[in-house]
């Protein structure tokens, strides 16, 4: 099955000078948090590459560059383990019938 998610910059951990685009993404529910993190790192590298980043940046893309969070009750944010599938994240933390909202920040 497929999962829809809104991928936002962490409101506290991402500064105004840092990459902060909100992304609208669909993928298989079997994808892990690490897959999502690596996807973000790749997209950021491609976008920054178009504005003059050093060549070869794509070869060093890693799921460790970003940490993924989900908002819990009372405005808290929980770090998501990279091995969790998005399906498990949805079942355990989200439980809502709308796109999963996740947050990213540089590790």
């Amino acid at each position: 099955s497929e999962i829809e998610l809104i991928f936002c910059p962490h409101p506290l951990l991402v500064g105004q000078q840092q990459y902060s685009q909100t992304r609208y993404v669909k993928t298989t529910a079997k994808a892990t948090v690490d897959h999502l993190s690596k996807y973000l790192a790749l997209r950021v590298a491609l976008e920054e590459g178009s504005s003059g980043a050093p060549e070869g940046t794509l070869r060093h893309v890693s799921e460790k560059q970003f940490t993924i969070y989900i908002s819990t009750a009372a405005g808290q944010f929980t770090t998501l383990n990279g091995s969790l599938t998005l399906e498990l994240v949805n079942q355990k933390f989200w439980k809502l019938c709308k796109p999963l909202e996740l947050f990213y920040a540089p590790t």
Binding site: Y24, V25, L36, Y39
Partner: protein
């Protein structure tokens, strides 16, 4: 959406496909964005 970005990501031999749109309207089926 007029354009959807498609990207494959592989970790530990598991490849998954990500599809991304610039806007959510018309892209998400489970919740229509206002």
């Amino acid at each position: 959406p007029e354009e959807v970005i498609v990207t494959d990501i592989t970790i530990n031999s598991l490849t998954v496909t990500f599809r991304e749109a610039l806007v959510a309207r018309g892209f998400f089926r489970s919740w229509e964005m206002e």
